[in-house]
């Protein structure tokens, strides 16, 4: 085995083990956010309805403490907002509570972070910015090294000169063809 191939195998093996975690994060999150039109990959949602004694549609300064008293929430309130003559909104950590001032109907729409997916998407979409940008760049570098070293792992019929080369060509041609078709068919 040539020294070059030995280095490739060493790099591919060591970096391959190291990259397993983040590769799974990016791949699973990639599928999740690809279907963002069909579902919310970050949150689960719930709706609750109940009634309180109607507070009436008077002045907000008077109504706000009355509504909060009648809601009797056992959690901190972030803010409140008079969205309309009959609509008063209370913002809490996990969502919004809509109070119909005239009827006393209460609708709470809340959300919770989807376990595992929220954190994977946070990393994948780099929502944290600054420090994660460096880590994501380094990971991209590792992926490049893995791709290049992978080409030279096997020689002969199953390597670059044979089946491996054909598969590699397909992997390059398919996205390239898609890009060309897109370029000439999209406005």
């Amino acid at each position: 085995m040539s020294a070059f191939r030995k280095v490739c195998r060493w790099l591919h093996r060591e970096l391959g083990f190291f990259a397993v975690g983040l590769t799974l994060v990016y791949a699973i999150s990639g599928i999740a956010v690809n279907h963002i039109h069909h579902w919310d990959p970050n949150h689960t949602a719930y709706t609750e309805t109940w009634s309180i004694e109607p507070p009436g549609v008077g002045e907000t300064d008077v109504l706000a403490p009355l509504v909060l008293e009648r809601l009797a929430l056992d959690e901190p309130v972030k803010d409140t907002w008079r969205a309309g003559r009959e609509l008063f909104q209370v913002f809490v950590d996990d969502g919004t509570i809509d109070v119909n001032l005239a009827t006393g109907e209460v609708t709470r729409v809340g959300h919770a972070k989807r376990p595992v997916f929220f954190d994977m998407n946070f990393m994948h979409l780099n929502k944290g910015r600054a420090p994660w940008t460096g880590i994501a760049d380094a990971f991209a570098g590792v992926m490049i090294v893995l791709a290049i070293t992978g080409i030279f792992l096997v020689k002969g019929r199953r390597g670059l000169a044979g089946r491996g080369g054909v598969l590699m060509g397909l992997g390059i041609v398919l996205p390239l063809a898609y890009a060309i078709v897109q370029r000439f068919t999209q406005p």
Partner: protein, 144 residues
């Protein structure tokens, strides 16, 4: 090995510190200067059309899945201002609702007059709408 562990520990602490920050800057942030009241802009939209404005208010609505817009409560009841940002450049998290948000961007007045003109006879009248919104370039959220 000890050095590697030390480096990983330091990086984790740095990441945790950033994640815990109370004030978070999105996009280009907000430059120094006075904030214009949302009610002032909405009362006289033509004066502010096409100009850079700085506004602040409680977030009362947010784009459900993509975080590509946020609605801020005005200083006046029942009035809001929508802030649209470029997809992916700024992503407002769902949890932003109820938080104090400062935004800088260009105030845009969009009149959908074309739709009104294209209404044919016999068809139900399409209501002419004017969309007032800030095309946001940056924001700062003061997380509670």
């Amino acid at each position: 090995m000890r050095r590697i562990l030390m480096t990983i520990t330091l990086m984790s602490l740095l990441l945790a510190g950033t994640a815990l920050a109370k004030e978070k800057v999105y996009g280009k942030g907000v430059s120094e200067g006075e904030f214009t009241k949302i009610s002032t802009i909405l009362a006289d939209p033509d004066t502010y059309a096409g100009k850079v404005v700085r506004i602040e208010g409680t977030a009362v609505g947010v784009c459900a899945h993509r975080g590509c817009w946020v609605t801020l409560a005005s200083d006046k009841e029942e009035e809001t201002m929508r802030v649209k940002v470029k997809d992916g450049v700024i992503v407002f998290p769902k949890e932003v609702i109820g938080e104090q948000v400062q935004v800088e961007g260009i105030f845009v007045v969009n009149k959908s007059e074309q739709k009104c003109d294209s209404t044919k006879k016999g068809e139900p009248e399409i209501k002419c709408t004017t969309i007032l919104q800030v095309s946001g370039t940056g924001a700062v959220v003061n997380w509670k």
